[in-house]
Subunit: 163 residues, 2 copies
DNA sequence: TCAAAACAATACTTTTTTGTACGGTTTAAA
DNA sequence: TTTAAACCGTACAAAAAAGTATTGTTTTGA
């Protein structure tokens, strides 16, 4: 339950692109400079973002990266998913079984599952509703919108509980 | 943003102990059997849980592990924290800076921080309010309580937003 | 008192992830 | 047409985490 370096850096670089005027691009060296990372490292996860369909590239001298869509159309989840591409393991609770058994020991009656399911659903809600555009609006606005999502979630949970 | 094996297995084993009648213990081989893990591996994180003050041990033949407190007094967060003890890196957003800079490039005006802060606060709320006891109540109850926490969170968020 | 079974602790191996290096291809411009 | 700067892609090295092995200490009970 913690953030991987790729997730953090990748999101930051995506935000850099989102902050550009429409149609402009940024080269890997420029991004690296702005984020204090190595050019090679930036190149690595920009490639992932490209494969994830978030980013378009311009090759050759004068080349660079730009978002494939408007920032408002790119939920954070898309960024995170793109960056997960080349991971060997991709775990959530109950995905992983023991080293010994073929299937989860508690395929029924798992004590952990409901907790995990609700929490992960909540996180997913957060990351699909918030877009790169939202992050650009500055701290106050982002803060308000994040809280707004929490609020709406509550409403939905409430319905489900009272039914 | 995914669950580490230690976190999942550790929590499961803690739940095993929580499910015992008051005062009874379970040995590492027994836990390992029930969860389909190796005895050595179980021993490893039971030691962490012990150091975290969650678990008491009985040495010698007939030895084993038991919870140091009533399951209702052990929030999931405590379990997770105990299991984090021997990690080398412990990252959240904005904890980690680039390899090059001494301090975070965006120590002010960070686009990512508010999103991350609210989400992590929410997760923390979840894990401090839910206890091992809750997980024992079975899927429906856990599910309801988890939703209940979501609900209360909303109320709190709402206050903050409208102020 | 001795043996068996269990916890304690650390060292070690393997796997995964992080981060770097480097050779190749593309393109703008002189 | 040549060169420089940038993307592309993979291979490689280093660090972290996962999981195992082993040795030692404690305790029960024959």
């Amino acid at each position: 339950m913690n953030v991987s370096p790729l997730e953090e850096y990748g999101l930051r670089c995506a935000v850099q692109l989102a902050s550009l005027p429409e149609g402009e691009s940024l080269s890997a060296p420029e991004i690296a400079e702005r984020e204090g990372l190595s050019v090679e490292y930036v190149s690595k996860f920009m490639l992932l973002l490209k494969r994830g369909g978030l980013v378009k590239t311009i090759r050759g001298i004068k080349g660079g990266f730009l978002l494939a869509k408007h920032p408002a159309e790119i939920p954070l989840k898309e960024v995170f998913d793109a960056l997960k591409q080349n991971r060997k393991t991709n775990r959530g609770f109950c995905d992983s079984f023991s080293g010994k058994s073929e299937t989860c020991v508690r395929s029924k009656g798992c004590a952990i599952r409901p907790f995990w399911q609700i929490l992960s659903r909540y996180i997913e809600e957060f990351t699909t509703r918030l877009t790169l555009q939202d992050l650009l609006q500055g701290e106050e606005v982002t803060s308000l919108k994040t809280r707004g999502i929490a609020l709406e979630n509550v409403a939905r949970f409430k319905e489900e509980v009272t039914v």
